[in-house]
């Protein structure tokens, strides 16, 4: 993963691109990513000193495991935010994918690798429904995914009768409980691979550049030959796949595919889905993806939750604290952009 992800604003000429990159490097200390790294270091030191058990192997293991899922959820939202849209159905898609995977294993007796692929395929298919509907209707994805969130979840509940699939191969639960060097969950590796793949997509591939361009200025992208509608649909499909991966990671963590894994209508995923990308500096207007920032943002939020729980500040304060953090991040980002604009750094 790179330290700073690709903004579409880079100039078309080689010299210009180099100059822009140099400028970006020199202003790294003003980026969201640097701020997040600093905060993570500060809070690690603070919680390590103040919260008993924060640096214990078990806590670091569970912290990593929870962060892995939260980061994946954040990435799932980020790839749609890139288009200037939203995907409120990430939770519903994820749970549907996980339940379908459970059905393929328990109901049809398919081998688990095929069932995993089947679950991810359903995630992509549901993402396609979102993307196609957004493109065809011209309505904002907020409206479309708000509706499909209820539809997907409702159909899933109807078909499964809200019954869990728990007779899954032991490899699932073993993977969720596995520890690497006593501290790390293998779920982190899954997330790392997904994040690296997304970084590569946005920085090194034509498709990734097209996604950013289409998100930044759809009309301009269309004029330059990019099939914006097709790109938007692909972004939603990618979001569906990532949501499916997040849900399958939760299946490994819980040892079962359960309808309530993302709460009613999948709404429990919405806060982590937004916190990661927004804290990480992904522009809600579209056109810029910050994979590293999303990872750091989601990790910071997970770490804060863990640390505050250990400090026993009161479980009910944590939600308020996370809300304040989100607001603070937006304000700091606004101040940062104002500062950069005044100094002609951005």
């Amino acid at each position: 993963m790179t330290s700073h992800d690709a903004p579409i604003a880079a100039g078309p000429q080689g010299d210009s691109l180099e100059r822009d990159q140099n400028t970006l490097r020199s202003s790294f200390f003003l980026t969201n990513e640097f701020g997040l790294i600093l905060l993570i270091v500060l809070f690690t030191v603070g919680f390590g000193a103040a919260a008993s058990g924060f640096l214990s192997p078990f806590n670091l293991f569970t912290l990593g495991r929870t962060a892995a899922v939260n980061i994946m959820i954040g990435l799932s939202m980020m790839v749609v935010i890139v288009t200037g849209g939203l995907n409120l159905a990430v939770g519903a898609i994820g749970v549907s994918a996980a339940m379908f995977c459970g059905y393929l294993i328990e109901g049809l007796g398919l081998p688990w690798p095929i069932a995993l692929l089947g679950g991810l395929a359903l995630g992509a298919a549901l993402g396609f429904v979102n993307g196609w509907t957004v493109v065809r209707t011209g309505l904002h994805s907020f409206i479309i995914t708000l509706a499909t969130m209820s539809i997907f979840f409702g159909v899933m509940i109807f078909l499964t009768r809200a019954e869990s699939y728990r007779a899954l191969p032991p490899v699932f639960a073993s993977f969720g409980k596995m520890k690497i060097l006593a501290y790390f969950s293998p779920l982190l590796i899954v997330t790392l691979i997904a994040a690296l793949a997304l970084s590569w997509l946005y920085r090194r591939t034509v498709l990734g550049r097209e996604m950013l361009a289409a998100g930044a200025r759809p009309e301009a992208a269309e004029l330059s030959g990019i099939r914006v509608g097709r790109v938007f649909i692909l972004c939603h499909m990618l979001s569906g796949v990532l949501a499916g991966i997040a849900a399958l990671m939760l299946v490994a963590r819980n040892g079962a595919a359960i309808p309530a894994m993302a709460g009613q209508l999948g709404q429990d995923w919405l806060l982590p889905a937004f916190l990661g990308p927004v804290l990480g500096g992904t522009l809600l207007q579209g056109g810029k993806a910050s994979v590293l920032g999303t990872c750091l943002g989601a990790f910071l939020v997970t770490m804060l939750t863990s640390g505050l729980l250990l400090l026993q500040l009161g479980e009910f304060w944590i939600q308020s604290f996370l809300g304040l953090l989100l607001l603070l991040a937006v304000l700091v980002d606004k101040a940062r952009r104002t500062y950069l604009a005044r100094r002609n750094l951005a």
């Binding site: 008993s52 929870t66 894994m261």
Partner: protein
């Protein structure tokens, strides 16, 4: 509620506590963790405090997840283990999804008991200590039909969260009891164990269909309170009702004749005896292989923490009924369910 807890606490402190104090493990740190915020579990807080005092525990703390979310409960439990808690009484946020976390806690040397709701077998939880919810709902419905004068009556059933493992058991039991008496459950409204949905759905239903029902059975705390208030507002005592639990609103409605009675549960006993049992398990006791567990739809290791019907004639002394249930269970608990050599 707090009045109830204080009175029950006083009884247990003097009546039961001395039995277990001598053999306690003084490093036992127990967490009593519900699935989310709910008034039913408030009695666990006092139960934990009393258990810690009576049995010489390092702590027996009531810890509530911020919301009814499995992920929140999982995170809280993981955090509590990191904080040094080494015994857990848990109401599973999901009977299946919470098993993995329970197994992980047990794997880290912390015994787990399910309280008020059960994990779905198989799990490494020692057992499930809760109300036999199906039986309670069944008995409550029978009492309601008796209060209505028997025969073919129309009953509305207001109940709790669908994710609560007990809800389906209650729905089935009410239906069974009604059918046995020739009555009919004309409406089941579930997922309303929170003030806003309960107010909205119960009031809307009664506004439109009050004339079409003869009786109401409620099998969750908030619907019982909202229904009792609704019947008081309507002012028509033609509709009979049997509630659940011991909220002051329900008890006063029984006294005033708007509600026929309530099915008491025993959350205090669950918390108190659960903490006692966890300490015993940490001190080397094991669960008897031939313990006389009951079975329900979720587990074959179920212990009924007691239930009792309280009508107007006993509403002033309802604490005695639950005190008796707790004492009855506690007196024989170790001998019946544990093997302490």
């Amino acid at each position: 509620m707090s009045h109830f807890v204080r009175r029950l606490a006083a009884a247990t402190i003097f009546g039961l506590g001395a039995l277990g104090a001598a053999q306690a493990a003084d490093d036992t740190k127990i967490a009593l963790v519900p699935g989310g915020p709910h008034p039913y579990f408030a009695a666990w807080e006092q139960a934990g405090k009393d258990a810690a005092k009576d049995f010489g525990l390092a702590a027996a703390d009531y810890k509530v997840p911020q919301k009814w979310e499995l992920s929140q409960q999982n995170q809280l439990l993981e955090s509590l283990l990191s904080q040094g808690y080494n015994g857990f009484l848990i109401f599973p946020g999901d009977p299946v999804g919470a098993v993995s976390t329970a197994d992980e806690l047990v794997g880290n040397g912390a015994p787990v008991i399910a309280g008020a709701g059960c994990f779905k077998d198989p799990s490494q939880a020692s057992f499930c200590l809760g109300t036999d919810t199906g039986n309670s709902a069944y008995l409550g419905t029978k009492e309601l039909i008796k209060a209505m004068g028997g025969g073919k009556k129309r009953i509305a059933h207001f109940t709790g969260f669908l994710v609560d493992p007990n809800t389906q058991l209650r729905i089935d039991a009410v239906k069974k009891a009604a059918e046995e008496e020739g009555s009919e459950v004309v409406q089941v409204i579930a997922d309303i164990d929170a003030p806003e949905p309960a107010e909205e759905k119960i009031n809307a239903y009664l506004a439109a269909h009050a004339s079409e029902v003869d009786g109401i059975i409620t099998t969750a705390w908030v619907p019982a309170v909202v229904s009792a208030n609704a019947l008081r507002k309507i002012g028509d005592k033609r509709i009979h009702m049997v509630g659940i639990d011991h909220d002051e609103v329900v008890l006063q409605a029984i006294k005033d004749g708007f509600v026929d009675g309530t099915m008491l549960q025993n959350p205090y006993g669950q918390g108190y005896i659960g903490a006692f049992a966890l300490d015993k398990l940490r001190s080397g006791c094991t669960v008897k292989a031939d313990a006389p567990f009951k079975s329900n739809a979720l587990t074959a290791k179920f212990i009924d923490s007691g239930t009792a019907y309280v009508a107007a004639d006993k509403v002033d002394t309802y604490v005695d009924a639950m005190r008796a249930e707790t004492k009855k269970l506690f007196d024989t608990f170790e001998q019946t369910y544990l093997d302490c050599k």
